[in-house]
Symmetry: C2
Subunit: 462 residues, 2 copies
């Protein structure tokens, strides 16, 4: 299947420029200031799918941001692949740490990306990886090599927990009917060692508010005599982990699937250098749950992290104040078989219970999702493995990712089909961080690999 | 001395309007955005002192904001009173909690101020209380009742720790020579029970920075595997107090003056209602160091409070990020005989020592000052007590304040004279908080009482 290689080579400049145009639109779903940009991005995605050769494309309104739906049907008797992706992006802040503006894409070479990488918010997560599928379809349609039917469902709320997607999927089960769901919103081990994500962590994301006195107070006149909401919040957060970095919320681990020694030994075979890991993050040592390795801590174990904290005077200089309120955003990554709604309830109950007299506590659930594990003996996984092996020349390794795509569990429940996660990004691509980027090599390799998945999946489904 | 009462009644509208004009200038010394306003305020204070009848007024440049110096000498053989105050104010934020703009003064009635109170940042701390002295001088000059010499030293950096004042005082000992220093920058128990502040707490103010990974990370891919600077900062802050709310910094209490049972019993006689205290702050219970009462916790005991904390994503919605850095502003209120520089060093050493591997810690000292206690058998204290008793018709009670005026200890060291703190504000005036205000009654009563201090101090000095 050299045609695709040639096609990519002939069109790569156009592929890159089209993606760059898409990346220029700041589709930050978490911040309502960007709502028009999010909607404009949906329109741009719709246009790209029409141009790629879909025979039906529509913008589907939802209670939140619209979902772009498209399909190309060649034969009702052939399998149907449903491609899922998202056109929204994470907020860009802290903006001052970007070496170039997050929505003015530029190509720069890096140690891991000698052919250059596109630097922009959303370059990898997920505009770049989503657009690989649009370009792969373009190739298959133009060259009459599309072996099966395809549907696209591209949403605009993934970075805020996909609040409208469940609503949409429940109402469109017939329309979304498929034989396998294909997502590129994860990573792979390296450009020389592809991997397929077989597991995702679940998520429970909450915001907490601790209120002490009814107004900010002078820390001299009241200091030492009233509960300081910031000190109390710090104390409450600190108490959520014990000395072994186990999470102290009662019942938190009750449903956690414990992997066998064999499974853990299998995982341990994935190439990993702790020194390189520490060097890349510029840290003296790693930190986490006792008796687990770094790769276990960020994949098969649940976690609790504060994602943001604020309270009191944070401006220039000094203000001797005791704040009336302190806030934190806290997220928990979950593993099979934790129930995210149950975990949110356990957290809320526990957090309220540890608040001392003198403060009141509010816990506001943001969103969440279930963890997911996909079997490696399915047609979908085997087709993906063959596709990677052919385009990279080496067998991919199955890995569990620490990230969350909450809707994968939803798809299985509502659409009764398995999801295959063919990711082409690298952990070092700084998704959710300043200077997010996506390697040109990875982008083009993805476009090359996807048609192979279509081919093998159709053959193996016969 | 009814003339002063009459004079205040005849001129009270003008006194109020002049203060309102002064309060309109946002002289926030902590925020360089207001630097021109701070300087303009110095000019306004200079003009008011000239108008009040000083025979020499000047703006003294310093490494920071200028100091307004003035004097009125009637006889070298008579005592000299040095009046200290400050024309800078605290930042106004959180601005959204003000019921009227902080720099657009308005008069509103409150439960404790039935005659109305002026609402504005700096109304009480310290523009209003400083201006009482200007108006009292105006009265004494106009009516030829000034019994002694007076000097004014009004600075513009008190809210940021008076960094330039020591520099100024050391260089102007002869010019500042005096027999007593008079300050109105504290409060009193109530409008029916005046009190004189005989003690002030010291201060050590620091800013801490905790750095983990060299960039913000995706909390799914790295969560659980690296030290999260916010969780670590929370843990470090929490560890600074033990289960009895004692501060855990080694050596912190070594120099703390322990009061005798008798002294504590004497203190306990000051009228205080815990229920009213809790009701005013809308809290279910107080919180503080075991075995000490509320009034002891906020006056004779040292404290450690976080005044501000920030890190990670604090915007709208959710961002699943592990921040690279987390910050906090922390202040410690000190009591005799703690050395503030030593405490800053002890804190820094301890805070760095409790940082786990995987993060680095920076501690930046902001400013500080010594605690202070003034004897109640001095001429200055007795003159102040007589002045309050005459104008309020009731003996004032000596109290220790939890606040800090670091320069009081400096004055004693450099100028070899005692400081008398004649405060007229109330704890409920919300200084350093949104909706700061100063009672019209208190403002006028202060103008009435100050000339009595001049009279008694001169007589008792004979």
């Amino acid at each position: 299947m050299d045609n695709i290689k040639n096609y990519v080579q002939e069109n790569k400049d156009r592929f890159i420029n089209e993606l760059i145009e898409l990346l220029k639109i700041p589709s930050v779903s978490a911040d309502s200031a960007y709502s028009q940009d999010v909607i404009n991005t949906a329109d741009a995605v719709k246009a790209s799918l029409e141009k790629a050769g879909c025979d039906f494309v529509e913008i589907c309104e939802t209670p939140g941001y619209p979902i772009v739906y498209a399909e190309k049907t060649i034969d009702k008797n052939l399998p149907t692949i449903l491609v899922y992706g998202h056109y929204d992006v994470q907020p860009a802040d802290p903006i001052e740490l970007w070496t170039s503006p997050p929505f003015e894409p530029v190509i720069k070479k890096t140690e891991l990306h000698p052919d250059g990488a596109i630097f922009a918010r959303g370059a990898c997560d997920d505009k770049g990886q989503m657009y690989m599928h649009v370009k792969a379809l373009e190739y298959m349609v133009k060259n009459n090599t599309l072996p099966c039917n395809v549907k696209f469902m591209i949403e605009g709320e993934e970075e805020v927990g996909s609040p409208s997607l469940a609503w949409f999927v429940e109402r469109n089960q017939e329309k979304l009917k498929n034989d396998v769901i294909l997502i590129s919103d994860t990573g792979m081990i390296s450009n020389t060692q592809p991997s397929i994500t077989t597991g995702l962590r679940g998520l429970s994301y909450v915001e907490v508010e601790v209120t002490g006195p009814n107004r900010d107070l002078h820390s001299g006149l009241y200091g030492g005599a009233v509960a300081n909401p910031i000190n109390i919040l710090a104390k409450m957060i600190a108490s959520l982990h014990d000395e072994n970095n186990h999470i102290t919320i009662p019942g938190f681990y009750d449903r956690v699937e414990e992997l066998s020694r064999e499974e853990r030994d299998e995982m341990a075979k994935a190439p990993f250098s702790l020194d390189a890991y520490k060097k890349a993050l510029d840290i003296e040592d790693v930190y986490g749950e006792a008796t687990y390795t770094t790769n276990e801590r960020n994949s098969i174990r649940p976690t609790l992290d504060v994602n943001g904290i604020w309270g009191g005077y944070t401006g220039e200089g000094a203000k001797t104040v005791i704040a009336s309120k302190a806030f934190a955003k806290i997220s928990m990554r979950l593993v099979p078989d934790q129930e995210w709604n149950e975990i949110t309830e356990l957290f809320t109950k526990h957090f309220e219970s540890i608040a001392p007299k003198g403060v009141t506590v509010k816990v506001k659930p943001h969103h969440g999702g279930q963890a997911y594990v996909t079997p490696i003996d399915s047609i979908g996984y085997r087709a993906a493995a063959s596709a990677y092996e052919e385009s990279f020349g080496i067998k991919p390794i199955p890995v569990r990712s620490g990230g969350s795509i909450p809707i994968v569990a939803l798809f299985e429940k509502e659409l009764k089909s398995k999801t295959i996660m063919m990711g082409f990004g690298l952990d070092s691509d700084a998704i959710h961080s300043p200077n997010e980027h996506f390697g040109i090599f990875n982008y083009l390799k993805g476009i090359e690999t996807i048609p192979l998945f279509y081919k093998y999946f159709t053959e193996m489904s016969k």
